[in-house]
Symmetry: C2
Subunit: 404 residues, 2 copies
């Protein structure tokens, strides 16, 4: 790859910055999650720090998909829906996600995409609360959340973060928040927001896409009402893996999906003429789920079997803290643009640099994969399951080298 | 498997009915689609006549999925979205479906499930036509269509087939019809309905799930407005394969999706704060598509490359005609419950029998896979790409044997 924007694409003779690699190796040696790295198929020679966009393949995925296509689909054909348990997969995989978000197994189901799930929950909440026509959101939250809210609700009020609590008015049905910010990595204090919302009679709807797997979450304990999240970032479920949605048990019987598809029917195979919603969260299923993508997502739970959610969150934070410390030391040209060491943060760190894109391209050519959000934001995702402390050290060295 | 309901599960000594197999072999020998059978992975010794529920795996699927997981996802990671063309897959696969339904390439896109697509189009049509609040449907059409309409529209009018044309009133925004009936196989005269609807100012929305791949369709030529269909029946795209939707070119700029997800944005990767719908049918995308399931669907087009849609429809009809003729001759206990020989029909034949389920179980034990719709309907799907005339003859013999 050629040089871009003044950055050299390959090692250019600039000396490798000195670093106490022994300290990083010691951190890896004592890392209780170190063994999970082998469960992912990462290319040789690549430091992959874009798992906040798309996680890498769990090693279990390829074999599982081959089995599903050849033995299950090819062997049992249509009977596989029951014989191989496909029909139960949305609830089964939802129950596997539940411990990562502090939910009960019967409060989570895998269905559709994050955008569609968000729409279903927003529309259901608005329908259940006709005296509260407004959705409250925060300016700068994930764009698709704002788009979906804009089209789903008659009234959307966008406020700044600091105005949020004061805006929880009597016209608000639900407050929709991106829990960990996709640019800054800032994280809301979920318990505090839930408490304030509840005091104002407002329901909370959390988008956990950038949180699940890297931040400790306790939807149940903190009194969250609704949530959605994607399967393809820190859950490593594959490109466009189905999303999940959470409905607190106490609300399940009071909400109905605007998309009354047959999979959410109490008895889908009765083919009755009239719709009767399923008990519980299953009523938020719509059409037939994409089984291949759904079972690939399930295979990711084979690769992370036994990983403790608290340990995952703790390691993600330590990786981020280390990254920020080393960058401050070695790469002062990068302006930190995320919560600092010791602060609560999503799974990535972010920096501003005026030539973010050419710098990111130069890093990719050296085997360090991060990404850029226009115009000037560099992001590095730090998945606790396969990123090593050593990788963070090498990443800082590579950035230093690329900066010249 | 043990005997069930009086039917013996295995050959019971009843003589195999005589049949002119040479005639059937001659039909297979002159079948222009015969070569496509080898493109599907069918289990040995099974006659698979449930492709109207779930098509079998295209042989291309297993290798393609292995490539996608290992080389694309595993090799290029997040860069595969552009480098491997994932981002274009919804439009690319839509363009491959278009010739099967008589649509232009820019009128079809693959997205979500049939239920979700149906909801999006119904809600869009109702929003575009505020002076016409009613959705018209026909009693007995596919249940999920009726459920989705019921939840999406303020007013749904269900009429009988014979009342349909007369019910196209000035309050009707859209008439939603299951083109080929999932039980009876009856098919609407699409051109006649489109013409009558147009005269009444009503838009048509066709569910093509049981038609595409087995009935000649000409959405463009017949003046259809909107359509949806699933990818997993006669398209053989895999369990829960993503669905497709059609919006006639002339309507595309006048409709907007109720689910304004980022993939339907004019510039999804600008992450702008406000929603601006994409040009054309792409605005009906919502969230990130399930790439593994979507590319498995695409691989089905490798297995059917070069198959002429008119030849597929002609063969499906001849297979059905033959099945009905042989059943009338050999199995008079079966009461035909679908359009007769020579008549227009979907891709399956249907019969009533008081012990349909035990009979179907007995057939399955003999290697003949059909299915049952309660209480008494046996269905046999006749996909033209892998079912042989010989298979129809053997199926009739097996039914005769099982009946005793």
């Amino acid at each position: 790859m050629s040089s871009a924007g003044g950055f050299t694409a390959a090692a250019n003779g600039a000396s490798v910055p000195r670093m106490d690699m022994a300290r990083l190796h010691a951190l890896d040696a004592s890392d209780p999650l170190a063994r999970f790295r082998d469960a992912f198929a990462l290319p040789e020679g690549v430091i992959y720090l874009a798992g906040n966009s798309l996680g890498p393949p769990p090693r279990a995925a390829a074999a599982r998909l081959a089995e599903v296509v050849q033995a299950e689909w090819g062997g049992d054909l249509v009977a596989a829906w029951t014989r191989r348990g496909w029909i139960d997969a949305p609830a089964r995989v939802g129950a596997k996600i539940a411990p990562l978000i502090g939910a009960g197994a019967s409060e989570v189901i895998v269905a559709d995409s994050t955008s569609v799930d968000l729409y279903k929950l927003l529309a259901a909440a608005l329908r259940a609360r006709p005296d509260r026509p407004t959705v409250l959101t925060v300016e700068g939250d994930f764009p698709t959340d704002l788009y979906v809210a804009g089209a789903a609700a008659g009234a959307v009020r966008r406020v700044s973060r600091r105005e949020l609590i004061g805006a929880l008015g009597p016209d608000v049905a639900v407050v929709l928040l991106t829990h960990a910010h996709y640019r800054s990595g800032e994280v809301y204090d979920m318990a505090a927001v839930n408490a304030a919302a509840r005091a104002a009679g407002v329901w909370t709807l959390w988008d956990l896409s950038h949180s699940t797997g890297v931040v400790e979450l306790d939807l149940g304990g903190s009194g969250a009402d609704l949530a959605v999240g994607c399967g393809y970032k820190y859950l490593n479920g594959g490109p466009g893996a189905p999303a999940y949605l959470f409905v607190a048990r106490r609300l399940q019987d009071h909400l109905s999906s605007p998309i009354a598809g047959w999979m959410g029917h109490a008895a889908p195979f009765d083919f009755s003429a009239d719709y009767r919603p399923a008990e519980g969260v299953r009523r938020f299923l719509a059409g037939t789920p994409p089984i291949l993508s759904l079972l690939a997502l399930e295979s990711a739970f084979v690769s992370m079997a036994g990983a403790d959610p608290a340990a995952m969150a703790a390691k993600a934070r330590r990786l981020g803290d280390l990254f920020l410390e080393l960058a401050a030391e070695l790469c002062p040209e990068l302006e930190p643009a995320c919560p600092g060491p010791g602060q609560q943060r999503g799974g990535h760190v972010a920096f501003r640099h005026p030539e973010a894109q050419p710098l990111s391209d130069a890093l990719a050519a050296r085997g360090l994969i991060g990404d850029v959000r226009a115009p000037d934001l560099l992001r590095f995702g730090l998945s606790p399951l396969y990123v090593r402390f050593e990788d963070v050290g090498r990443a800082a060295q590579l950035i230093r080298q690329a900066l010249g």
